[in-house]
Every structure is written in structure tokens, then in C-alpha cells.
């Protein structure tokens, strides 16, 4: 078990190392703040202050404030309709905020026309000018901003940056989707904008192409060292490209931090269930099995999920606010913080496998617990090894679900009123797979 935990940590460690390497490979203009993690940057280069925006009766952004250090890449993620695209359009100047300021290096640009903002943007469908060649597309911004001295060299440099040096004479309809994406990036960067805005830049690409283009995109942006805001609905993309990730929900900023912070210590119910996969379980804070110091200090709570043959089954979870004893709560549990166990020892819950999902490296199992609620568990050979043989259980097999020791703690939130039954395990079977949500247009 510990061994497994170890490997889990090791993987996270590799991620961090890769990230650092990426940064190091980039330009040295990248400020320290860029990799500073969740804490807000020391000196903000781009600042969004209390932005509010409504369209008619629909309140799309509510009091959004963000700060980016020079050279930092911030990824904005959220469900469709969360306001992330609107935030980007406010930054670009295509929409005007109802309230709030947008500061670049201390200057408020919120009232400037898009043409005078000096922001570069890569559009979701690229918006390349179809009647112009690749060269003319990249040169457009330079001409529009009268930066015509050394224009040809500048365009050539940009095309080289995106590895398209021989494509200047092509029509944009004659190049592939991936190449179009790179032209869009070169065009946006050519006039040396102060800030780069990326609106779902990879969503139009083939999945097979996406990962490579993502790496190239990140490398190019790093090389230029430009302050960048990326809007995406793909968590993986946000985690990979963004130095920090901001989660928007219903127009509000839910949480901002590094990928690992959002994953490990989500501060809201939304982020806890939005990042990665998660199951929800209901229970109540338990008097009997709660260590006295745990309950009210707002850090860790014991949650009783139900009784199995007169034994109360309790799980420890991290709670974000002090709770009273016996309070109804909801646990948000990631599949990778659970394991299958061979017996009820260690607070395991009995259940039955109803579905197995093989994804290649990992297998997920959906386990229906006694009360009828379903929970998703990361299954590995290791989980079953205690039974002797190393194997994955079959559908309909009876198993036990236990917390993975030393693994990610479940998060505990007070349950909203009037949703639960009396006593026992009140199961909620909702599983969420938000990563597959539609792109907002």
C-alpha cells in the first residue's frame, strides 16, 4: 500500500520537475513569479480588478479579480457559461465591463478600443483572413500598427518561431489545421503585444495532434516570454500550459492556484468535484468515532457513512469549515483516493462491482454500496493482491471499498438543506465527469 502511495507521489514529483524544466527551457525573461505557484505574484503585470459584466438579465461575470506576473501563463477553466470566454473578450476589448478595471503595467486599458490595446489574440477558429497568404496574415498587425520597418524579417522570424518558414506564400486554405493554428499564433505575436490571449486554441485540432501542438504552443509562448491568458475547457491543457489555473463557476472565481493545489486542496465543493473525476457520498459527522480535536478545528472530520452489522463505518476527510457533531455532510471522493479491500477492516464499505472501465494504464470500477449509492474507485492489481492472486475483480463481484492510506483525503462539505433521508447511509449516486463538458462558444 505504502509502496503504491510512494509511486503516486513520485509521479507528482515528475510532473513538477517537468514543469520546472519547461520553464528553464524558456526565455530568461520569465519572471520568478511565473513559477511561484498558488500565491499571487509579487508584482502584477496584468491585473483584473472587480470585473462585472451582464448581458441583459444574465449576470455573466461577478466581481472577478485576477493578477498575473509578467511572463506568467494563466489558464482559465470552467464549464460552458462559466464566464471564462467573456472574461477573455473583456480583456481583448470586444466587450466593455459594466464595472471594474483592467490594468496593464499600471495603466487602465478597460476603455481602450481593441485596436489600441496592444493585446494579441488567438481565436478559437483562428479567424485567419482567408483571402490573404500566410505571410500577409502575419504581416497584417505590423502594417496596421505601422511597424513596417523590417517587416519582412519580423514576419520571417515569427514564421520560424512556429516552424512554418517555408509557408509564407501559401494561402491559408492550403495548409492543415495544425499549421493554421500556428499561423494564428505567429500573427498574434508578430506586433509584439503586451499580453497574449488564447481562446480554446487547441479545441479545433484532432486529438492526435493536440498534445504535440500543445507542447509547441507552450514552448513558443515561453520563448517569447509573454504574459498569457489561456481559456480552455480541457483540464489537462490548462494543467500543462498554465503556470497557474483559475477555476470560474457561474461568473465567479472559485479558486486560483497551481494544478497540484487545485487537485490536492480544493477549497470549494465545485472545485473538488470539477477537477478530475469525483463521486459524492452523503453521511454525517460522527460523534463516537471522531477524535475530539478533529471535529471543530476545521481541518479533519470523521464522517459516518452507515452501519455494517452494528459497526459504524467512518471515513476521515478534510473539512473546510468547523462543523458541529451529527451535521449532515457530503464527501467528495476521487477514484484515486479509494481502493478495493478484501475485508471490512480499516473502515471499508461493502459493495458490489457494477461496472468496470478499462482505460489502458488504469481501470476504474463503479461500486454500488449498500445504500444504493455508487462510487468510483481506481482499481489496480495491487488492490486485489491481498486476496492472494493479483487480479482485477469481475462485474457483480462483492468487494469492499476503503480509503487509500496516505492518499488524497476526501473533502467534506456541509450538505445543503432538505436533500437527505433520515439516518443511515443516504447515498447520492451522482458521478461527475465534467472534463467532457461541451466547449462554450
Amino acid at each position: 500500500m505504502d509502496e503504491h502511495l510512494g509511486s503516486h507521489r513520485a509521479r507528482a514529483g515528475i510532473e513538477a520537475v517537468t514543469k520546472a524544466a519547461d520553464t528553464a527551457a524558456g526565455d530568461d525573461t520569465t519572471g520568478e513569479g511565473a513559477v511561484d505557484g498558488g500565491t499571487s505574484p509579487q508584482s502584477a503585470y496584468l491585473e483584473l480588478r472587480h470585473l462585472d459584466k451582464s448581458f441583459g438579465d444574465v449576470h455573466v461575470l461577478r466581481d472577478l479579480s485576477l493578477e498575473l506576473a509578467e511572463g506568467e501563463i494563466l489558464a482559465l477553466v470552467g464549464l460552458s457559461g462559466s464566464g471564462k470566454t467573456t472574461a477573455l473578450r473583456l480583456l481583448a476589448g470586444f466587450e466593455r465591463p459594466d464595472r471594474g478595471e483592467i490594468l496593464v503595467d499600471g495603466d487602465d486599458v478597460a476603455s481602450l478600443e481593441p485596436a489600441r490595446r496592444g493585446f494579441g489574440m488567438v481565436f478559437q477558429h483562428y479567424a485567419l483572413f482567408p483571402h490573404m497568404t500566410v505571410f500577409d496574415n502575419v504581416a497584417f498587425g505590423l502594417q496596421a500598427q505601422s511597424k513596417t520597418v523590417g517587416l519582412a524579417e519580423r514576419v520571417a522570424t515569427m514564421l520560424e518561431l512556429v516552424d512554418l518558414q517555408d509557408f509564407g506564400d501559401r494561402k491559408v486554405s492550403e495548409i492543415s489545421g495544425g499549421q493554421q493554428q500556428r499561423v494564428a499564433l505567429a500573427r498574434a505575436l508578430a506586433p509584439e503585444p503586451r499580453v497574449l490571449l488564447l481562446d480554446e486554441p487547441l479545441s479545433n485540432l484532432d486529438p492526435s495532434l493536440r498534445e504535440r501542438t500543445r507542447r509547441e504552443l507552450k514552448a513558443a509562448v515561453r520563448k517569447v516570454g509573454i504574459t498569457t491568458v489561456l481559456v480552455t475547457h480541457e483540464q489537462e491543457e490548462a494543467f500543462h500550459v498554465g503556470d497557474r489555473v483559475a477555476v470560474l463557476n457561474d461568473g465567479r472565481l472559485e479558486q486560483i492556484g497551481t494544478a497540484s493545489e487545485l487537485y490536492r486542496t480544493p477549497t470549494s465543493r465545485f472545485v473538488a468535484s470539477f477537477i478530475g473525476r469525483a463521486s459524492r457520498l452523503r453521511g454525517f459527522t460522527d460523534e463516537a468515532s471522531t477524535p475530539r480535536r478533529g471535529l471543530n478545528d476545521g481541518h479533519e472530520a470523521w464522517v459516518a457513512l452507515g452501519q455494517v452489522q452494528d459497526i459504524a463505518v467512518c471515513w476521515a476527510g478534510v473539512s473546510l469549515q468547523p462543523m458541529a457533531e451529527g451535521e449532515r455532510v457530503e464527501l467528495i471522493v476521487k477514484p484515486e483516493s479509494l481502493r478495493l479491500a478484501s475485508s471490512e477492516t480499516g473502515g471499508a464499505l461493502p459493495g458490489r462491482v457494477v461496472e468496470l472501465r478499462f482505460t489502458g494504464p488504469l481501470t476504474y470500477g463503479v461500486i454500488r454500496l449498500m445504500g444504493g449509492e455508487e462510487v468510483e474507485v481506481l482499481v489496480d492489481d495491487d488492490s486485489a493482491s491481498k486476496k492472494g492472486a493479483s487480479r482485477v475483480p469481475k462485474v457483480h463481484e462483492d468487494v469492499f471499498v476503503a480509503p487509500r492510506e496516505g492518499g488524497l483525503k476526501p473533502r467534506v462539505f456541509p450538505l445543503e438543506d432538505g436533500v437527505s433521508r433520515e439516518g443511515g447511509v443516504s447515498g447520492d449516486t451522482s458521478r461527475k465527469d465534467v472534463s467532457r463538458e461541451e466547449v462554450d462558444e
Binding site: F123, F129, A144, R187
Partner: protein, 551 residues
Amino acid sequence: MKPTLQSRRLAYGIALGLVWLVTYPLLLTLLEALGGAGAWTLEHFAEFARRGDEWRALWRSLWISTASVVLAGLVGVPLAFVFERTEFPGRRVLGALVALPVALPPLVGVIAFLFLYGESGFVSRLVQTVLGLDQPPWRLHGPGAILLVHTYSMYVYFYLFARAALARLDGSMLEAAAVLGAGRWRTLWKVTLPQLRPALLGAALLTFMTSLGSFSAPYIFAGGYRVMTTQIVASRVNGQYALAQVEAIVLALMALGALWMIRRMQSDETVTSAHGVAPSRQRIVSPLARWGFAVIGWSLAGFMLLPHATLLLISLVPHSTWTVELWPPVLNFSNYHELLSEPERLRPMLNSLWMAVVATGGAVVLGLLAARQSLRHGGRMGAALEGLVALPWAIPGTVFAIALGTAFSVHAPYIGRFVWIGTPIILPLAYLVRCLPITGRAALAGLRQLDPALEEAAHSLGAGPMRAFRRVTLPLVRPAVVAGLGLAFITALGDFVTSIVLYTYETRPISIEIQSALRVQEFGVAAVYGVLLMILSAAAFLVWGRGEAGR
């Protein structure tokens, strides 16, 4: 992007200009038909209601338009099926030729028919000679003649609309019907035709409105057999201005009523956007059938081209050299020579050209401005601008001629009225109003297809509104705008219906000259004008076609 105060002002300015040009003259016509301020009376309307010939004209307009829709549909839809669903030698060329009548200005089509099927036309001479008759076998006269010309020139609407809809049809839908056990006919009735309904209704609307406003055919073929349009012109020529105004109002209401009715039928449609691939063409395999199709197809094309060919031939016949012979004895270029050497004869050409250029240019600019503002503002302002631009399409040309004649025959600059009748201003203005729906729609279609992100991209790269419009928007909507321009130019160049009400001797256009040549039996001269009009229109049609293809 959010419209600025400046662009809102611009939108209001354009809307005001359009109201002044489009709705104001109609309103003034209604007011004057009611006697005008200080002398309100229903007498003119009562007079209209009392007269039997008015009701007869109204009835004829209605039934001829309805019959035109039926006949044009009966010719156009089967043709669309043949050219879209089967593959035979020469299909592509013929498919394009079949759309030709749309490029012929109405008056030119009418005189070509006259030379071909009229009492002394080719075909009737041929029949007379072959059968050894003393009299011409028929007279091209009355409602039959009108319907013949209408069918010839308007089946194209059904043909083009139905073909486009057939090409868009999702082939897998037909396969689904077949898998479910439906036979050919069942599939046609239950699947294909319902899918074509919106296109057919659109073509029906276009045909009905065009027939209702048709003037050349009734005027040339059926002098005494009055329909509303010829009735209006007759009243005006007779000096019964108030009666002409009442008639114009009645015809306008009828047109708007028909528009409203057909639009209501269209709004019932469940619009499905098919994403599939069009069914593949059925290749005609049997050699006999292949040749059958080819022969039928080519003779059809020959029939379509016959009027054009006739016109060309007649233009080569010198004055009073052709009497009773089957084939004209003398053919030379004397008519052309005469036209080009006499400045007075050349004048209508130049008149038509400059007036069409000015009107089309104005209509393109105004249409583009209105379309842009309409899309930028959307909502009520957008709908109002779009409606104002489209309105002249629904109102017969004769009605607009009367309305403009009414509005611009009084000097009152403070309420936007000037004495422009009898000046060179009035005709280009009338052409402009008539062309506005064509150019406006084309601009709207072009701008709608444009990804708004393109202009945003230009802005984000530092281009101001003018630069973004000039470098990005304009080049991209140019094909659509050019298409509209070509079609508008044909309309203005060949206009007869408004010209006959508003022309002066100095500004007489080609169509008026053709009419006076016909009156003095100078068929060769009329044909020369017709040929020149045809060539200019064909050139504009080619431009239009290229614009269409470029979309």
C-alpha cells in the same frame, strides 16, 4: 462588438434615408389618394369600387399570377429533378443554359417572343407555309400570351430553387426510407417533396410577386386586356392621377397581402438543416435512354435559345425588306450602323448605361451600409433596416413609379419633397430603389457568412474600423456584393415598368426606345436595342455567376 454612439447615429441616419426613399413616397401616395390634407375624401376609392373594369383588372392580375406559379412550377421542378438526379451527356452545359431566361430583361424576352411566335413571327410563318394557310395560324394575344411569356421567364425560379434544395438533400434520408421499405414514389411523396417544400414556397413567392408586377408582357401582348399594372399606367397617361394612385395603393396592398400569406405558410416549416451528403446522381446506363435524354435536353436548350437567336436575326433585317418570305431575303448590319452613326439613336443606350451605373452604384453603397448596420445593431433597429431594404421587392415597380412621381412633383424641401419629375434625377432614383433589395440582400448574405471573429482579429491586431473594413470585410464580401451588383445592373439597364411612367424625352432609356420602334414598325431597330441589352445583361450575368461561384 458593442455599437458606439457614432455607429448608432449612422444607423439612424441610414434608416431615415431609407424611410424617405422607400416608405415616404408610398405614404404620400396614400394620402393624396385620400384627397390630401384639408380635403379628405373617400371619393377616389369609391370611384375605383364602382368601376367594373377596375375589378376585372384586379381579378386578372390575381388569376394570371396564380396560373403563372402553377405553370412555372410544372416546368421548373421536373427539370430540376432531371438535371440534379440523372447523369447524361451534356448535363452540365445544358443545366446552365436552362437558367438563361433569367438573364433576359422582361421587355427583351417579350419582343423576342413576339418575333418568334407573333402573327408574323418565324414559327407562325413556318406553320402557315407548311399548312398552306391564308391567315396566320394563331394570334399571340391575351392572357394565353402573357402566361406563355411568364412561364418561359419564371420557371427558372422553380428550377434554381428546387435544384439547390435537391443538392442539399441528405442522401442518407432517402436510404433510410428505402431501408424502411418505402418504394420510389412513396419516398418521393413522403420524404423528398416535403423536404423541398420551403424551396418551392420560396420560388412560388418569387413567381407570384414577379407576375403581379409584370408589365411588359401584358402591355405588349394584351393592350385591351388590362391587368392592374397596365391599368395604372393607362389611368396615369389619361391624366386620372388620383385614380392611378388608388390603383397603385390597391395593387401594393394585394402584393403585401400575398407576401404575408406565403410567408405565413413558410413559417410553419420545421427547418431542418441536413448535414449529410446529397444522393448521388443516377447514371443513365441504357444507350437508348442516354440518347433520349440528350436529344430531349438539347432540343429543350434549343427552345430556350430560340428567342435569343430570333432577336439576333431580326436585328440583321434592314427596314421593310422582309414581307411575306419564310426567311428574310436581306441580312446585313445596316440597323447597327444606323444606330451607331446617329447620335439621337445612340442616346438611349448612353442614357440607360449612365443611369444604371449611377443607380447600381448607389444601391450597392446604400445596401452595404444598411446591411452592415442591420447586423451590427440587430434587434429592432436591425429588423427595421432589413425590412426597409427588402420592401421595394414586394411592391410592384409600377406602384413605386407612381409613388415616386407623386412624392417628387411638389416643391417642399422642408418635408423632403422636391420637383424631380421631368429632371434626370428621377429615373436613376427609381432604379436605385428597385435595385436596393437585390444589393441589400446580397450584402446581408455576404456579411452573415462572415465570421465576426475575423473583424475582431483585425481589431486586436491594431486595425481601426476603416482599415478592418477595407482590408478584411470588404474583400471577403466582395463576391456576394458583386453578385448583387450584376443582378441589380441587369434590372436597372432593362427597366421598362418604372421608366414608362417617369421618363422624359432627354432621359429615355433603351426600353422606351424599343417600345417606340415597335410602334412605328421598325422591328430591326427594336431588335438591335434588344440584342445590345441582351449582351450587356449577359455580361452582367456572367459577373453575377462568377460571384456566385466565388462564394
